[in-house]
Point group: C2
């Protein structure tokens, strides 16, 4: 096999109570990428469609992760990478992670799968760091493993695959505003109240248990964030209205996707997810902010090979 | 049935990362209680052996929980309670909870089991509050439900039963020193670093996942407490030595049981648990502090009916 076309999914990091550790993978939202072996050694980005991103491998997240893996694998050939970008950079659903993880996933298949998903995550984090100035796996992990993931630790990197209830859907709304990562970080407190932290780890434990036991009611009761949401939600216009509308329409719960501005809602069943989509569209329809919405099953598979 | 004899187990609350929410139940350590129907209405504590505790129902934790349930059930008869106490009050392995939960468990059986375990926990918390000045279910929950429990919330009371790996054992050492609950509380910080809180909820999520998947290695890597142990361990002489000795002897991890002074170690298999017992006994043998040790399988059943 000399060429592969893949679907590289969008992802939701943090997931309310799971700030900095939890994430899940979307199914119907993502980029496509073509990875191709080439006689000339090195990593070459040969096509980018959708958004204006750098072609030099060293300045492109897909290129940086590819270079990290290439330096380790040391094949006697090179790779060309084409990126068909559907996930808008800065939307908060793992745009850079999709690129960073997609290139190394595709290369790994063409190399005969010498690396496991944790090793691929390690390389992808190098690309992610170019975009977000820190090596983290919040979006990388669900993109590569699929389903729900818990990043237990970054050093050493340990990623846990949490079971995903079969009828779990996400509705995403992306208000087209810009939130600077630096601002989303600066707004977080250095210290938090112990009583709030206890609530948070009770909810993380409950959410993991709810995912293991297909307990949608428990998932609903666990989707609270006493720590980060009170601060970051201020950066997203109409956040509380979206959350309330989603709840009224039947969502299990809503939260900030990554550091925003996208807002996710988890729902039991596609019909509820579509009702939630209609309800939250109405919230932003009355504003002058442009927005997109998506409904997606939680993608238990992660990356997909479209042809080979 | 007019009389029942029960085993009311000792329990370990907090479990390292799970401060204020997690607990587990011991098998070979606990009190016995006899509950008996009597024509005379009311709650009567008729015998207490082992430790010197008040006989007036209103001043005894087993009596207070019994009275709370009695006021709700309104039977046309009364109950006598005999308490054969093996768990030393103040040892940190749920002595008051064993009494508070045991009385209502036994009464419930004699009433034909009108209450579920969560309702029994609610009554038992009233007794617990007499001993600890706050209504909490950290030890009540594992005593009544057995195995590992997660108290998701106290109001409304929601207790989750977490699966327990079959080969999981606990080794407990109880150094015979007194730690005042007020002191153990006062030493805790009001605020904690967000980065430490994140470590803690990553570990809580991982521990729940490890218990669901029988992953002893993950349980081991999750038994860390970045928040409470650094403070409370100062109140327990030789704490770090016990922890180090247990680890060297093969324990998955150790932590403060409840607010101490007992220290628990979790182990895979009874042989390791016994080796850990020998190793930690040596630590205290060189001190002038008296101590007891116990080895117990994690008790998945909770309360036991000894005869009826």
């Amino acid at each position: 096999m000399n060429e592969i076309r893949i679907f590289s999914p969008a992802t939701v990091a943090n997931v309310s109570c799971g700030f900095d550790v939890l994430g899940f993978c979307l199914d119907s939202v993502g980029d496509e990428m073509v990875i191709r072996k080439t006689d000339k050694k090195g990593i070459y980005i040969t096509k980018i469609e959708g958004y204006d991103l750098p072609y030099e491998a060293e300045k492109n997240v897909a290129g940086v992760s590819a270079l990290a893996m290439y330096a380790d694998a040391k094949p006697d050939f090179g790779f060309e990478i084409e990126i068909y970008k559907n996930i808008k950079p800065g939307s908060g659903v793992g745009s850079s992670s999709a690129s960073a993880a997609g290139s190394v996933f595709g290369m790994n298949v063409l190399l005969g799968n010498p690396y496991n998903n944790t090793e691929l995550s390690y390389f992808a984090m190098k690309g992610e760091a170019l975009a977000s100035q820190s090596e983290h796996a919040d979006n990388i992990a669900p993109a590569l493993f699929g389903g729900f993931t818990l990043v237990k630790s970054v050093s050493p990197l340990e990623i846990l695959e949490i079971p995903t209830p079969n009828n779990l859907y996400a509705t995403i709304i992306h208000p087209q505003i810009e939130i600077k990562t630096s601002e989303a970080r600066a707004i977080l407190p250095k210290d938090v109240a112990l009583k709030d932290a206890i609530l948070q780890w009770a909810n993380v434990g409950s959410l993991i248990h709810g995912l293991h036991t297909n307990n949608y009611g428990l998932i609903e009761r666990s989707l609270h964030d006493a720590i980060v949401e009170p601060h970051r939600s201020k950066l997203i216009p109409l956040y509380q209205d979206v959350k309330a509308a989603a709840k009224t329409a039947g969502a299990l719960g809503s939260g900030i996707s990554g550091s925003g501005p996208s807002i996710f809602s988890l729902c039991e069943g596609i019909n509820t997810a579509k009702s939630v989509e209609q309800a939250i569209r109405k919230v932003y329809a009355n504003s002058d902010i442009e927005f997109d919405t998506y409904v997606s099953k939680i993608n238990a598979e992660g990356m997909k090979i479209l042809n080979n």
